[in-house]
């Protein structure tokens, strides 16, 4: 049973799409209800992943089926999760029902297509997170683009065509170059005795520094576009602003994580030496991203654009934590990925609520909403605090760990500059909150606004719960991630190949495929402080 959970979870939405075709297009309620049911069932199917997860660094729930065996190529349908992907998978299955619920009244045209796109998107996202075969990963990574392209292009705002095409082409350029690097890497591995596209095989490769540099650049570009990192972020504000609410929520909560996940899962362990050399560059870009995006967010007139830029800033923090490459930094980065998914997802939902009511997102059109919509105000405030990283909310734990970890690494000076981003985030979020929620309720249109209805509260409650749960009790998350992340750290400190001419397989790659117990026991680097929980000292 354990073997098929991942596949079941991933392809359930696909089955949902096929059944969706038989529902009459006019019956919107049934279409929505059915899609909601599919996503909820998918979430339920994914729960055993958490309950059955054994906290160690190994891939679990592994399933491997031969797929393409032709000529020199051997690709398997090989899926599995470890501590890194577990929570991202859970985030995806968790956010999907919320996204579907949010479309109840927001999308009234072409509902069938919209629901089909959402479900297809879920297939792509889950598939990318669980792939343990690099070719399979690439397929899912590309497949994700298609439904998102249609979601932005069909159901988006005024400038949707531009945003959709830009989104597609930006991502495409990066991923195609990654494909070239991937193929080149495979052939190098083939010469060294590798047999298939399985991820662990690639980890066993010992590449010389020059090769690593090129490969890393190609992989890093693809992921940097997806994150997105400054200066490749320009597609994001467009895509976010034009996308319908559910699209923005999924884009922020899950799709952007593909980039940071790509670094943790692929770029860092595969090319440790190149990574080491490019860390200053990436850290610089991350810091610029944090500061620049915060400053730009501050002057936005459109709430949604503001949230979009805040995304760029948050992901700059994530990248900083990841590239600190110590336990705290990486755990913080990973946790911040989840936090960002929850809190920014929630922010986009909130923006969606007011947009549905007023059909505007300009800050100047609002003011004093708190009096008219008290429940909305409360939830909005909680989410804002989470986004800023107030203690007690999830944002604090992640940001704190990132800063602490990065400060202790060689990125100390970057951290000092980046920490001003924490203050800036408070400035732009609170200023926006103040202008929207407080002040005089003088716009007559705002005086008739209705507070959140039951459905909307039901959407927000799980998110609010998670904000506090992860804020007060991050240990379950960090504890399960820790072994897998330690393995990444260990791999990132792998010595580069001594001689540039030959690539050899390290012994760990010679372990037979398809075995879940293939990873070496993780050894903590010497002299590293033991941090079993990752919870900062003195935290509630």
């Amino acid at each position: 049973m354990n073997e098929v959970i991942l596949s079941l979870m991933t392809f359930l939405p696909l089955a949902g799409v096929i059944l969706l075709l038989f529902i009459p297009s006019g019956n919107h309620t049934l279409l929505r209800g059915f899609t909601l049911a599919v996503t909820v069932v998918t979430f339920i199917v994914s729960i055993p992943l958490v309950t059955g997860f054994v906290t160690n660094a190994e891939y679990q729930f592994v399933q491997s089926v031969p797929w393409i065996h032709a000529g020199p190529f051997k690709m398997n349908y090989k899926v599995g999760i470890d501590g890194i992907s577990l929570w991202l998978v859970m985030l995806t299955t968790f956010i999907m029902p919320i996204a579907v619920l949010s479309t109840w009244t927001a999308v009234t045209e072409k509902v069938k297509g919209y629901m089909a796109c959402l479900l297809l998107l879920q297939v792509g996202m889950l598939g990318a997170f669980i792939s343990l075969d690099l070719f399979l990963f690439y397929i899912f990574w590309e497949v994700m683009l298609i439904p998102m392209y249609f979601i932005i292009g069909i159901w988006g705002g005024k400038n949707r065509i531009y945003a959709a095409v830009k989104f597609f082409i930006y991502t495409m350029v990066g991923s195609l170059l990654m494909l070239v690097a991937l193929i080149a890497l495979y052939f190098k591995g083939l010469n060294a005795g590798m047999t298939d596209f399985s991820l662990v095989n690639f980890f066993g490769l010992n590449l010389d520094p020059a090769t690593q540099t090129w490969m890393f650049l190609a992989f890093a570009l693809a992921f940097a576009i997806k994150v997105p990192m400054f200066p490749l972020h320009t597609w994001l504000p467009d895509a976010h602003t034009e996308a319908p609410t559910a699209g923005s929520v999924i884009l922020a909560a899950v799709l952007l994580k593909m980039g940071t996940y790509g670094y943790v899962r692929f770029a860092i362990p595969l090319f440790p030496d190149a990574m080491d050399r490019f860390t200053p560059l990436i850290a610089t870009l991350s810091v610029i991203g944090v500061i620049y995006a915060s400053l730009v967010a501050m002057v936005q007139e459109d709430v949604k654009k503001l949230v979009a830029y805040s995304s760029v800033a948050h992901l700059g923090f994530v990248m900083l934590g990841v590239f600190a490459l110590n336990q705290m930094g990486l755990q913080g980065g990973m946790l911040q990925m989840l936090n960002h998914g929850v809190s920014t997802g929630a922010l986009f939902l909130i923006v969606g609520f007011i947009y549905e009511r007023r059909h505007t997102r300009l800050i100047t059109d609002f003011g004093g909403l708190a009096k008219q919509m008290p429940i909305f105000a409360t939830i909005f405030m909680i989410v804002t605090f989470s986004s800023i990283g107030l203690p007690g909310t999830n944002g604090f734990v992640g940001e704190f760990l990132v800063l602490l970890g990065a400060f202790e690494s060689k990125l100390r000076w970057y951290t000092i500059i980046a920490s001003s981003g924490v203050i800036l985030s408070a400035v732009y979020m609170l200023w926006m909150f103040q202008r929207v929620m407080f002040g005089k309720l003088d716009n007559p249109k705002n005086q008739k606004l209705e507070d959140l209805n039951g459905r909307e509260i039901a959407i927000m409650l799980p998110l609010v719960f998670l904000i506090f749960f992860m804020g007060f009790n991050p240990t379950p998350f960090t504890k399960t991630m820790a072994p897998a992340l330690d393995k990444v750290i260990a791999m990132s400190r792998k010595a580069p190949a001594p001689a540039p001419q030959a690539i050899q397989m390290m012994p760990q790659g010679a372990i037979p495929e398809g075995m879940p117990q293939q990873s070496q026991p993780v050894e903590m680097p010497q002299g590293h402080p033991a941090m079993p929980t990752g919870k900062p000292a003195g935290h509630p």
């Binding site: 393409i68 032709a70 000529g71 494909l179 052939f187």
Partner: protein, 484 residues
């Protein structure tokens, strides 16, 4: 006096060609003697002939044989290509009848012409002597000249036929001159003997006769596959020709050109490989770039697909440049999947088009996806496959072609290829932008899906999706079809 030995005539080897020729001749007669307004029955008969020929061709899989003193062979390579030709001919015939009726030029001769050109292509793929290849090419070309100008009431179609005739015969001149020079240098027209003679005498590129012969043959073939800078005829001919003919022309003859190109260069001229590799490298880069960049600016969808087909010839040349098993298997796989995706796309174009080749602009597709959801989805599948996005066959094909180049060490060629591929996404997406992101301005009430069209589209969608998701079998077949 020496006895004249009559070579063994092994008709079984050319059975597929013979069957198809007989069908074509019979159809010509039937067309004359049967008075009928509708010519659809001729189409169905020719499809019957294609199916018989297909079975006959496939039955030879794995049993290499030769005939006519080794001027024609039956090997897996030829059979694989024959399957591609026959499939593309059958799919094009499925979409022909309705188009001809709409354009008021319902003449039955089109079906025998398609069959004859298919026979020509089959000889190009199975010929192992420059003469057989040349004869096949002529049979193909002459039929195609007529096909391109088939709609004789239309000025554009006439122009297309004439243009194709002039430039085509010019390029054939190059080819045959190249063949003559090669014969002059080596004293034989048999591909294998050329190679052994060159190897024996240690001839290399310093032999001017052979080098110029190779260059001229490359020019001739480059014309046929529409590689830049010999592509100028393509957009005009493709735009003017009747759309089913365009669909057919963009797939079958191109594949035939590649089949002959591959066989002549790999079998006969391995000694010049360093020279022709760089030649192909340049051709590939130029073809991809010119095709894609020009396609970005096209408003007419037939012209756009014409330039896109130039770009696709460039991708295939990347696999050719690689010159290894992966790249060559990639060519075979790609030609097969290209047949499905391109003819599928042209089928939709015929459905959307109106009498007199109207309604062929990309902007005419506004909202089409909503008025005909199934056709819209099918078009998206074809376009995504053309753009090389998984899980469509076009992606696997490109993956193989570029892998071949990377394996052979042409990393930059692969990089240029994928960047081109990324640029091409823009113009394929543009069609979808109109189909889905713009509101419909028309009802598209004239778009009627006949059973023949439906069958063609189902075959096309299956042919794009099945090798896309489960490419293993098809790649294995392509691998087995290599003669290297």
């Amino acid at each position: 006096m020496e006895n004249i030995v009559i070579p063994a005539i092994n008709l079984a080897v050319i059975a597929p060609e013979v069957i198809l020729s007989l069908f074509a001749l019979a159809l010509l007669l039937i067309n004359v003697f049967v008075k009928s307004e509708s010519k659809a029955y001729l189409g169905y008969l020719s499809i019957g002939g294609i199916i018989v020929s297909l079975f006959s061709a496939v039955s030879g899989w794995g049993c290499p044989a030769e005939a006519f003193s080794g001027t024609v062979v039956q090997d897996n390579f030829a059979i694989f290509f024959k399957v591609v030709f026959l499939i593309s001919a059958a799919m094009s015939i499925l979409i022909t009848d309705k188009y001809l009726e709409r354009e008021n030029c319902n003449h039955g001769e089109i079906y025998p012409l398609i069959l004859f050109s298919t026979v020509g292509m089959m000889f190009m793929a199975s010929g192992t002597d420059m003469m057989t290849i040349f004869l096949g090419l002529e049979l193909l070309s002459v039929s195609l000249y007529v096909l391109a100008g088939f709609n004789r009431n239309s000025i554009k179609s006439n122009e297309s036929g004439l243009k194709y005739f002039l430039l085509g015969s010019f390029s054939t001149g190059f080819l045959v001159y190249g063949m003559a020079l090669t014969y002059g240098a080596t004293g034989t027209t048999k591909l294998a003997k050329i190679a052994s003679y060159v190897a024996q005498t240690g001839m290399n590129s310093s032999n001017l006769l052979l080098l110029v012969g190779m260059l001229m043959m490359a020019t001739g073939f480059a014309f046929k596959i529409a590689a830049a800078p010999f592509h100028m005829w393509t957009p005009d001919v493709y735009e003017g020709a009747p759309t089913p003919v365009t669909a057919f022309m963009s797939v079958g003859p191109k594949a035939a050109g590649f089949a002959a190109f591959l066989r002549v260069f790999i079998v006969a001229l391995p000694a010049l490989k360093p020279e022709w590799t760089w030649l192909l490298w340049g051709l590939a880069v130029l073809t991809m770039t010119v095709g894609n960049i020009t396609a970005l600016y096209q408003q007419n969808i037939k012209r756009m697909l014409a330039y896109s087909s130039i770009a696709h010839a460039g991708y295939v040349l990347v696999g050719f440049t690689a010159g290894n098993a992966v790249g060559t298997a990639g060519i075979l796989f790609y030609m097969l999947s290209y047949a499905f995706m391109n003819i599928g796309a042209f089928a939709i174009i015929i459905l959307v088009g109106k009498k007199g080749e109207e309604n062929n602009n990309v902007s005419d597709y506004a909202g089409f996806g909503y008025k005909h959801p199934m056709l819209g989805v099918a078009m998206c599948i074809f376009l995504f496959s053309l753009a090389g996005i998984p899980p469509a066959a076009g992606f696997i094909g490109k993956f193989y072609l570029f892998s071949g180049a990377i394996q052979a060490g042409y990393i930059w060629l692969a990089v240029i290829g994928v960047l081109n591929s990324a640029a091409s996404v823009y113009y394929y997406l543009r069609v979808m932008v109109f189909m889905y992101f713009k509101d419909p301005t028309e009802e598209f009430s004239w778009v009627k899906l006949t059973p023949a069209f439906a069958l063609c589209l189902i075959i096309a969608v299956a042919g794009v999706m099945i090798p896309g998701v489960l490419p293993g079998v098809f790649l294995e077949l392509a691998q087995k079809a290599l003669f290297m």
